[in-house]
Symmetry: C2
Subunit: 281 residues, 2 copies
């Protein structure tokens, strides 16, 4: 996940996006659940041993580590705009004994790599948070070798679907849209990936969609609990209040609705994603 | 797909649902595209040679034929409420040289099979169209042997997501919801499958979600064309007008919007589905 620097340090419009979630424990609890299998299945057939991969917006690095295991002895360079989260990512790689990964801070809008540096350039749930996703894709294309692939996957908040209905959860989604957009992001990114890729100059685009689905007792408890906690404890909560989007009392109501929803035995939640695999010519 | 008989012949509430689409060519064009791979992937790991399968609401039988090939020498019994469409299904099976499939007319609310008749009972995009999906699942459970599985997959119209936005397509979705519900169906079925299965008595339910995604020129032309044609030419069009839900002029506008949308190079459409695999104890 990309976390751009504060607006004061980067005056250009595309650099002003603020990573909406921040890196509160309730956010990392979600991100460290992510694996190549549950979050990058569409990319796996393109990976073979020996390929060099750039993983943009690696966050805590669990997907990164899976990619590194798959392409070894190829190397994975993993970058994130937030220095802090790279400590988590380095720890994950060290724990798995991976010697073919290195980490660095980078801005996806202006990657500090020469043209044609990688065989695969990957970004999971990054483009929804950056100020200029088309510029990000241009940069990802520039550093990818001819014949390589640029892969991006983003959820689409407007397509999030759940049962049973709860007015407070409708309010949660509406609030999330407002906060994320005020920060320069586009939460309904999944549906826009093809459009963004075409504007970035790609012509050979393979499009898929895939979901996360949470319905078992464990999944419900995990998903509802982390959103309840994010809603009251993460950067998102601070941004919601400081931006005038919600009061503390409203956030508390939303968190309660999440916990009530998660306690329902018939509760079901679907997170759809758009996915693009773009061939670099 | 299930097509219940006319209300006059079946007074009970659960039997009065009318199959919203009918079997116009523009509907069959969609249904015959369906394969086990694109529509029943969640079920495939449960299939082995020799199992007996009941395929409920088989429609034109393309998924049925794939299932039959996978379980041979096991047998597939495929039923649909509409006699007419079974001719298509029989032709598909004959064309593929499948000797282990038989077809019959049946009402999923009251299946004419003894208890414990099948190892796998499957229904693709059926429960959204029936008057009483919980009763349908009870019947599917009754005819399934202990240790077997009942599998159901339904799209969720409320989760359909597309780009770019078109007010006339919002109108299409709203109209579809109204027409389908007036006919006794529940178009937002995907999110309700777990709830329905629990009410039908299942306790061991594996839940997944999966999508169809249409974005290439061929996919866009096919999907937009069939919806444009359905909107003006199928049973759905007749039901929309006769039920007072839309005028012919409104239907023409919606069809035009579909064709315009399909001509956009950056157009993207996602059809999410809920899926349940229920173990019979």
């Amino acid at each position: 996940m990309t976390h751009a620097s504060a607006p004061s340090a980067h005056p250009a419009a595309h650099e002003t996006a603020v990573y909406t979630h921040g890196h509160h424990e309730s956010v990392l609890r979600s991100h460290t659940w992510r694996t190549a299998a549950n979050s990058a299945a569409y990319l796996l057939p393109s990976l073979t041993a020996g390929l060099d991969v750039l993983d943009v917006g690696c966050g805590p690095g669990t997907i990164t580590a899976d990619l590194a295991a798959l392409v070894a002895p190829g190397r994975v360079t993993a970058v994130d705009a937030a220095e802090g989260v790279l400590a988590n990512a380095r720890a994950v790689a060290a724990e798995r004994g991976l010697g073919n990964v290195e980490f660095a801070v980078a801005d996806v809008h202006a990657l500090d790599f020469p043209d044609d540096s990688f065989d695969v350039v990957h970004a999971h749930q990054v483009l929804q948070h950056v100020g200029d996703p088309v510029q990000a894709l241009r940069e990802m294309r520039r550093v990818c070798r001819p014949g390589g692939v640029v892969a991006a996957r983003d959820s689409d908040y407007g397509a999030f679907t759940w049962f049973p209905e709860r007015p407070a959860l409708d309010g949660w989604l509406d609030l999330y849209h407002r906060v994320a957009r005020a920060n320069g992001g586009e939460p309904d990114a999944g549906r826009r990936l093809v459009s963004w890729a075409r504007r970035a100059g790609f012509t050979e685009i393979t499009t898929t969609a895939a979901t996360w689905c949470f319905a078992t007792p464990d999944e419900r408890a995990w998903w509802s609990g982390l959103w309840a906690d994010r809603t009251t404890g993460s950067d998102y909560a601070e941004l919601a209040v400081s931006g005038g989007h919600a009061t503390r009392a409203e956030l508390t109501s939303i968190a309660e609705a999440w916990r009530e929803w998660g306690a329902r035995e018939d509760a079901w939640f679907m997170v759809p994603h758009g996915e693009i695999l773009c061939r670099v010519s």
